[in-house]
Structure formats: C-alpha cells, structure tokens
Subunit: 525 residues, 2 copies
C-alpha cells in the first residue's frame, strides 16, 4: 500500500460522540450503529431527551463537563472539556498528557446541525427573535471538529447520517481520513453559508445594498452534461436556500443544458415583466427573436414566431398562459428546444410529449425576485441594482411636432420594454404589440437599425408601415432614425440625451414622424 | 426623541474588554482611550505581552477564567466565563442573577482579529501547517459578541480601531447601538469569508470544481457613479482578497464606469490570450469591433481601427505593448473612452493626458487567472470551467479537397480565437491577422455571416479577396458559407458537427475554397 493511500485511510476509532441536532429524522439509525460499536453519547436539551426516549444510553453535556448550562442555554458546550476533547492532537504526547492530567476524555465524533437561520427569517420579522436564533455553540463545535478532521469526524448535514452509517459499518466503528476530510470541507461551507445568511440579513435590515464584503452562495442542484460548450464542465446552483428547485418544473423531455438555462432566464424575465395580456417570447442565443402580446394566446405565439421564423427554429418559447391543443398543434410545426408555459392542457401535453427532445416546463410557480445583478469576471465582480423600470409615463417627453396618441404610447411602451431585454445596442420595431424586427448586440447603433429594418423587410414588410421603433440608448447621429423612417417607422421611442438631439428631432420633424424621449436608458450586455 | 432614534442610540458603557489581535498597528491609540474611560483589559499570548510592554494594565485570560490555557493555545478563550460575560442578556434578571451567582463579570467590548487564512495559504503549501492555522477561539469570540450586539461591541477589523476611538470619545466611553450593529454585521461577513476561504482551499486541495455548496465573496473597491444605466446604483468588488486592486493601474482620466469595466474585461481576456506578437483589441458594447496582430504595434492599432472605424469611436483600446509617441498621435485622432497598454512612453502619456475624458490604464501587472466562469440569475447561477482552448492543431480536420497551408492555418487560428470572444452567433472575417468583418450576437448564423460580410464590404472591400472566416459553431445549412464565399472568403474554419456537414463541405468544394473542422465550439453569450 502506497503512503498516499495509507494516509487517505488512516482509520480512527470513535469512543465518544457529541450529538446536538435540529434534524432528528434518521437519527435513530445512527444511534443503533453507535451502540453497536460501543460509542458513548454526550448530548443536551432536546436531542438528549430524544435519545433517552429512544432508549439509548446518553450522558448530558452538563454531567460530562461538570458545568451546569446557563443563560437559557446560550452557554452550554462552550466549555474547555468539550473543546479539548475535540481539539487535542492525538499524535502529540504533550496534548495527550494534558488531557490525562485533567482527566479529559476524547470526543471523536461530532454530529451537529443547527436550526437554519433562513428558516428563522421565514418564520418571523422580529429582529430580537431572529438574533436570539443565531447559534454560537453549534458552529463552534462544527468548526472545532472540522479543523481537527485528521482525528475527528464531523457530520453537519442530516443528509450525511446515511453516509456516516455506511462508513462506520464498512470500517467497524471507525472512519477513514478521506471521509473525515470530505465532511470537514462541507462543515466549513455550512458555517460560511450560515454567517453569509446572517450578514445578508443585517444588510437587508439596514438597507445596505453594497456592503464592504459581499457574499453569495448557492447549493448545487444539478451537474449539467456540459457548459456553454461541450469541452467545459458545468453545474447549476440555487441561491434560493429554502428548496432545491428553481421554481420551474420540468414535466417532459431531455435534461436542460447550460444554454437552455441561459435562454430560459432571458425569456422569463422579459415574459414575467408583462402582466395580464397573453404574451409569447421566443429566445435564441439569449436574445429575443420574437415577442408578441395578444388577447388570443394562439395569435401571440404566431406573431412572435413570424417576427423571425428562421431564428425561432430550435429556440425556447415562453408563454405566460396555459397551452391548449390548438396552440400545441401550432407549436409542433416547428422544432423548439424548450416550451415554458403556465401549465399544459392534458391533450396538448400528450401531443407535445411526442417530441422527446423538446423540454416542457411548467412555470406556474416561478416568480422573479428582482435581486441585484452580478457580473463576475476573472478577479472581480460588478454588483448593481436591477433595471426595474421601463419608463415613467409621467416623465416622458413628446419632442416632435406630431404627438403620439395614448394607444401609440402603449405601443411605444411595449417596444421599449422588449428593447430593455435585447443585448445592446438594441433596436426593436413593433407593430400591434408584436415585434417585427429586432436588431441586437451591435457595436454601433446604425447597424442595429439596419438589422431591425432588414429583418422586418425580410419577413413582414407589409407591417413596417406606421410601425413603432425603440432604441435602448440615444441616437448619436440622425443616420439611424433615417434608416428606420425610410423603412416605414412612424414613431420612435428613445432615451434622448445626445448632444445632437436637436439634429435627430429635426430629422424626425422633417419626416413628420413622432418621437418620444423617455429619459431612461436600458443598456444590457 | 422618537422611539426609533432612542433605540438607535441606546448607549452602552463598557467595563471589560477582551483583546486578541493579529493586527497590532494602531492598537496603542485604542489602549489609550480604553484607559481614559477606565475600561479593564483581558488578553492573552502575544497581545497580552504587547499591551503589557506598552505599559497598560491587563489581566491574562487564564487569570480571568481561572483556567490555564492548554493544547498549545488551542483551548484558551473557549470557556464559560468568557462566553457568559459576552453573551448574557443585560436586560434579563435571570441572566444577571446567574452571572452574579457565579461571580462572572460582563465583557462589553471584544477586539479580535485573526491571522488571515489566505495569508497562511500564501506562506506555505503544507496542509498540516495550513490546518493548524484555522482559528477556532477567535471566530467564536467574534460571533458571540456580534450576536449580542445589542449590548456588546465587536471590532473585528483593524481599520475600525479609529472608528472605535471616535465612538468612545464621542460618547464618553460608551458606544451607540447603531455602531454596534454595524460592527456586528461586519463581523459576520468576516467569519463567513474566513470559512469560505477554508472550504475553497479544501475544494482546491481535493480538486472539487463543483462542490455541493459554492461560495464567492469580494471586497468592495469602489462605488461607481452608476451601473449599466444611470438609474442603477453599482459597486465593483475584488475577489482577489490579497490586495484591493484589480491588477490594472489607472494613471489618468475620469473614474471608470460600469460599462468601462465590462468592456475592459472583454478586451483583456482576448488580448492576453495572444502571446508575443503586438496586438490591439478595440471593444464596444462588450464585443470586439477590431482586433489586429502585427509586428508593428502602430500597424496593429491602425488595422484594428480600420476593421470598423464607426464602431471604434468611443470604444476601449487594449494593447499588449507599450504606447509610444507616434501611436499616441494616431490614437488621438479618434475619441476613445479607455486606453489600456503595457505602459506609456513619457511624451506619449503627456499627449494622451490632454484628453481629460480618456482613461489611461497601465496593464503591465494584469494577468488572467482563468477562474471558473459564473453567470448569476435571479435565483440561481451557472458555474462552468473557463473556455481555455482555441483549437488543437493536431486534431483539426481538413475536410475540403483544397487543403490550407501552414500560414493559412495560423490565420485560421487567429480568426477562430477572436471568434471565441465575440458574442454568439459569431462570424469573424480576417485578413493578415486583422479582422475585417465581425458579425456578432445574432439569433441565427446566416445573419452573422451577412453582417460580417457587409462590414468588410463597407470599410475594406479590397481585403475580402482570399480572406479567412471563422464561425463559433457549425453551419446548420450551406446558406451561411455561400454568403461568405460570395464576398470573397477563401478559407472557412468552424467546429463541424452538423447533420448537414456534407452539404456544407460540398458547397465549399464546389466553390474551390478550403475548410477546416476544429471539433471545438466556442459559444459565448
């Protein structure tokens, strides 16, 4: 056996275990195994009572330490006898001698989990109660045991009860170093996450958006087949610590890919920002290629597809309504990677399920929480408030001689909203609350104008007349709006703010079109 | 005075302070103030000696607890007398009674900072030494004091020594609740970050790329004027915990904006992936609009700008070389937001500095660490390995009758590399290691082909003949390559892998052009 392998095994017999757990399910199985291997148990409070009730022998912490717990249990395990028992180095004569002089016993197994801080937050808004629930003794036991993993086993997650049982059985009451190290790593991730939740709560309480130290964490939900490309490994994590799902429920089809997730979020954030009216969003490469609102759900799908039927192929479709059989029949004419909807009728589901490669997802329970945006680079990250507005109808300016009607303002609002979710530079041309041309991701605005116009000319030229165009940022020159006007656009909505605004307004007036300045920019990269 | 205000003030007199610090600079100023307000000091080890030496009265922890420290200091403050002193509720008669029965004293101020775990990692590779340095007692003191911030003051950062002094002076030896709460929040962010560093070290040690719980954190470097748009607040954080800078050094110009940072990283990752040969990258809206390598640095700048002079305006320019006066003169003909270079000659700097709005940044010390990529959504994040390859020259396939020369393969490699950094769908046309057409961010590949061709036709049509085109993913139909061929492209490099590959190869053979399959895709959204 090689030295490395020998080291990895380094079996440790367990004499005493300290147990203090919030999660008791599955604990009896652990107790059974501990008894089998003659491992003594030390415990207190609710866990002590539970173990006793189950008929197992157990010493109280206060009996073990000779120190009565005080301050309503705030000080209980914070005692040298407990922490020496965990922390002493089993290979150091000096430590062993100190332990024996004091007649201290070794504690080789720590099973501790604490009431999740997030649960407290979900249960009460009372700061005093929340603070009272911050555990001090528990994390200290966990950290001490994890530090000394070379000799001590720490089980900090109830999901590992079963792994502990396996480990003890396999090694006849002992654990391997490999197991102990894995558990120690997990323990530090737990305590880090616990304190992150606390500091994030303090930040929220004090309305601190940009604290000196910003911490994020997530729990792994799934390992993905691969990342953005097949040679990159990838996993997806949930930052909602409560339950390990993302709020959308896959009901059929292959597993979701990295790029599916990326497109899904691009689609859902846009879709769910539109309330009430049935809307379909089709996403391809994280950009919308068709968005349409219509009283008729079927029509909203048809219109969104007509915006760019070439790009729509293989895209993801997101609907803020339930899919019925007639829509399912229409959807089935094209291949899409993912269909997201607020439920599927039974016969619609039956039809759509036939395409095994198409993922069907129920988004009835999904909601956007508008958390701050984070963009992570190699050695830094940008944190920013979410871009939550579209424009304020009270603050928009009608800068041309011709003024838009109320209906036209609503149409402009739709165009500007879609534009907000298109990668910059973005130009979006709209007719009857349906996109007809989307110019995305260009390095200059004129090119985005050209692309949007060309797209409309290619697929629905008849709709260009009297259409509405939105721009995510101001026009630095009149060339862009001239391109739009030439193609038939009659209303332009844009933030304004260029030093050449007057030139742009003059060009609009000359063409007798209407222009709205929103005062709000929507760069999105 | 309103109740809220009264609560925020809630002054607390400090009787005993426990001090255990790694960072001693500035501590004497604190000691002076503690003495002034007759605050007793408890300490141990190095801090005890330091305080004693400075001539201040101080009790040893062991004297205070009546318990000799053991296990080489592993167990010292983990004692009920210390933690009761911190944790008891000063407004609860039961707690006060328990404290007085035991003759325990209250500890109202905790000044503790620990040897940063990251420093340990930078000093040694020995796991035993690293683990020995994991502090258990320190974080417990910090967490206990932070939990009980309603009565106790925790100072866990040496940068707050001065704030503590101010607070005590202002309130005559007392602290306000507002101050205590702020310090408590910071304390939990410290302990969370400390344990995050530990678990990240374990993950690295065990080669775990996708742990069950993934934690990131960063320290704020700067509040930005605003985020991606003026109505969004924003800050930038460093994830390099060692020093609070990003590795690039601004030497002139206005403060950097959110969008500047976004463009800078887009530019630097591409630029620094090209070794040896002088190269210029111009970025606009996070996409390259011109990239050129040339033995002559000046020519590399000129060529990169010629690729799309319209978009280049107001972009960011990144050079992997030193900027001299002739290049500075050339740069000054256009307005750029940011110039990044490996240094600036003195007279070049003098010239460029005249444009006050243009930021000049020295990137001599910047390096890309290829950390995993993270994309954060509203309630989840995707974690993936960095896309580190371009293509493997040994694995590429020459799929057409006509085969490329070695020189042409190098040209194809350049085109494919740039393509990797262009938002998908991406098409990049190159001549003599300079881009002449970049088709970025389209929802279908044909559109990207059109845009790239149009761009080249618009600015440098003469260079299209015998040019090389790269595609970040396969061509689903021959239409895209037909567009490229028609415009003059003679070599196409793409991953391959479409079910219609043969049709695409046939079209290439028919046009007598050369095609390379790389087997590697480079989606980038």
């Amino acid at each position: 056996m090689g030295n490395q392998k020998k080291y990895l095994i380094m079996l440790r017999k367990i004499r005493n275990a300290i147990i203090s757990v919030y999660e008791k399910e599955g604990l009896t199985q652990v107790l059974k195994v501990l008894k089998k291997y003659k491992i003594n148990i030390i415990s207190s409070g609710g866990t002590y009572k539970y173990i006793k009730k189950k008929g197992y022998k157990v010493r109280e912490v206060s009996e073990f330490t000779g120190f009565e717990e005080m301050l309503d249990g705030r000080v209980k395990t914070l005692h040298p006898k407990i922490h020496s028992g965990i922390l002493f180095n089993r290979r150091k004569n000096k430590h062993i001698k100190e332990m024996s002089t004091k007649n201290y016993e070794s504690i080789d197994l720590v099973i501790v989990n604490f009431y999740p801080f997030l649960e407290t937050l979900n249960k009460t808004n009372n700061p005093k109660k929340i603070i009272e629930n911050i555990d001090i003794g528990g994390p200290t036991l966990v950290r001490a045991a994890a530090k000394n993993f070379e000799d001590v086993t720490i089980v900090s997650d109830c999901k590992d009860y079963i792994n502990l049982i396996d480990e003890l059985k396999k090694n006849k009451g002992k654990t391997t170093l490999k197991f102990r190290e894995k558990m120690a790593n997990k323990a530090f991730s737990l305590t880090s996450g616990y304190d992150a939740t606390i500091t994030n709560w303090f930040n929220k309480k004090s309305n601190i958006q940009f604290p000196e130290r910003k911490i994020f964490f997530g729990n792994k939900i799934d390992e993905l087949r691969y990342g953005e490309n097949p040679h990159q490994k990838s996993s997806i994590y949930s930052t909602d610590q409560k339950n390990l799902n993302l709020g959308f429920n896959k009901i059929s089809g292959k597993e979701l890919s990295y790029n599916n997730y990326n497109d899904i979020y691009a689609g859902l954030e846009l879709l769910l920002s539109i309330k009430k009216i049935p809307t379909t969003v089709i996403i391809k490469h994280a950009n919308p290629c068709g968005v349409a609102s219509n009283k008729s759900p079927l029509q909203s799908f048809k219109d969104s597809k007509s915006s760019d039927p070439v790009s729509a192929f293989g895209g993801i479709v997101a609907c803020n309504f339930n899919i019925n059989i007639s829509l399912a029949t229409e959807i089935n004419k094209t291949f899409f990677e993912v269909i997201l909807a607020r439920g599927f009728d039974k016969n619609a589901l039956k039809l759509l399920k036939k395409k095994k490669n198409m993922r069907l997802i129920d988004i009835s329970n999904f909601s956007v929480k508008n958390r701050p945006g984070v963009k992570i680079f190699d050695n830094s990250f940008l944190l920013q408030e979410k871009d939550e507005v579209v424009f304020d109808k009270k603050k928009i300016k009608f800068v041309t001689k011709a003024k838009p009607t109320k209906l036209e303002i609503n149409e402009a609002e739709f165009a500007f909203r879609v534009c907000k979710f298109v990668k910059s530079n973005a130009i979006v041309i709209v007719k009857n609350k349906a996109t007809i041309g989307i110019g995305a991701g260009q390095q200059n605005r004129l090119d985005s104008c050209r692309i949007a116009s060309e797209k409309a000319k290619q697929f629905q030229p008849q709709k260009l007349l009297n259409s509405v165009a939105a721009s995510d940022a101001f026009f630095p020159f009149p060339d862009g709006i001239k391109t739009l006007i030439k193609s038939g656009v009659k209303i332009i909505v844009q933030p304004g703010g260029s030093i050449r605004d007057q030139e742009v307004i003059d060009a609009a007036n000359k063409a007798k079109i209407k222009m709205i300045f929103t005062g709000v920019r929507h760069f999105n990269h």
